[in-house]
């Protein structure tokens, strides 16, 4: 039988094995790290979204740099 590690990286395989409640708690830790690193909660423009408005003004982060976007790889 195919093992998760044959299809995805070890970190993802480990994530697959958690329960939903465990994933929630782990994700909370990532949230904390994201905010400590100055990550912005303003979403990046998603040009493929049906809601995308190219003329909409976008708030800039207070520190003037682009926000931290992903902690590890699996952000949505």
């Amino acid at each position: 039988m195919i093992q998760p590690e044959q299809l995805v990286e070890a970190e993802w395989a480990e994530w697959y094995r958690l329960t939903p409640a465990q994933r929630w708690l782990e994700s909370e830790k990532l949230w904390e790290a994201f905010l400590i690193l100055g990550g912005s909660l303003d979403p990046e423009p998603d040009t493929q979204s049906p809601f995308f408005d190219s003329r909409a003004s976008r708030p800039r982060p207070a520190h003037g740099r682009s926000g931290v976007r992903l902690v590890r790889r699996g952000g949505v």
Binding site: M1, R23, W24, L41
Partner: protein
């Protein structure tokens, strides 16, 4: 129902916003307005927060100004393409309980998978991981409903071949609904990958067609808002 649900089901590790799917009736909207007021949430962009827009299938976008929430985004929808009415979604929902006892309701995995079949590139790797995680968790002692779900929705060619080998008769029944399973039964990886890409392209086209009239409405609302400003 969106990114946070993807975290719970194992396809993502983190999501910055919160998507809610709600029953669009007057009483429920009143309750939601109250909750959003607690978050100091303001509507951004169009459409405005009105029941008719939710019933048409639009999303209403909020930004929370409550200081602790750091401008978090909340998106509210009532209709999703490709899935049933709210009553059916509610019946099939998943309840997640955290160790402290707090619990909340999430879109069921099969409904989430259908809702994620969009025109956006980023949803497709998510879809693959959603079903992969479910398969790896359940494959040792699957129910027939789980097997049928994997036959319908798995997008990892290697796993489709494995599931076709392990559940041959279920696969023979499912091939009428999803013809690409014939390649899984034959173990033809190349043909299967190609058929999965074609399947994805069809879904993306269907999503674009679904949104075309709604995008036109959004554009009209934007113009009206600019004129009214």
């Amino acid at each position: 129902m969106g990114g946070q649900a993807c975290v719970l089901y194992g396809a993502a590790e983190f999501s910055r916003d919160t998507d809610l799917v709600i029953l669009a009736d007057t009483g429920n909207l009143t309750r939601l307005r109250r909750a959003l007021a607690d978050l100091q949430a303001e509507v951004i962009a169009v459409p405005p927060f009105q029941i008719r827009h939710l019933r048409r299938g639009h999303a209403v976008h909020f930004r929370c100004l409550q200081p602790d929430l750091l401008r978090m985004r909340v998106d509210v929808m009532s209709r999703l393409r490709g899935v049933g009415q709210f009553a059916a979604l509610w019946r099939r929902r998943t309840k997640v309980t955290l160790p402290g006892g707090f619990s909340f309701d999430v879109l069921s995995l099969p409904d989430l998978v259908l809702a994620k079949k969009t025109q956006r590139d980023k949803d497709w790797p998510m879809l693959r991981r959603l079903v992969e995680a479910h398969y790896f968790q359940g494959r040792d002692h699957p129910t027939s409903a789980q097997v049928r779900f994997w036959m319908r929705e798995l997008r990892s060619p290697e796993l489709l071949i494995e599931v076709a080998r392990r559940h041959r008769s279920a696969c023979e029944r499912a091939v009428r609904r999803r013809p690409l399973l014939q390649y899984a039964m034959r173990g033809d990886l190349v043909a299967l990958e190609s058929a999965l890409r074609e399947e994805e392209d069809r879904e993306r086209d269907a999503d674009r067609r679904y949104w075309q009239p709604l995008r036109t409405e959004l554009e009209r609302l934007r113009r009206r808002r600019v004129r009214g400003a």
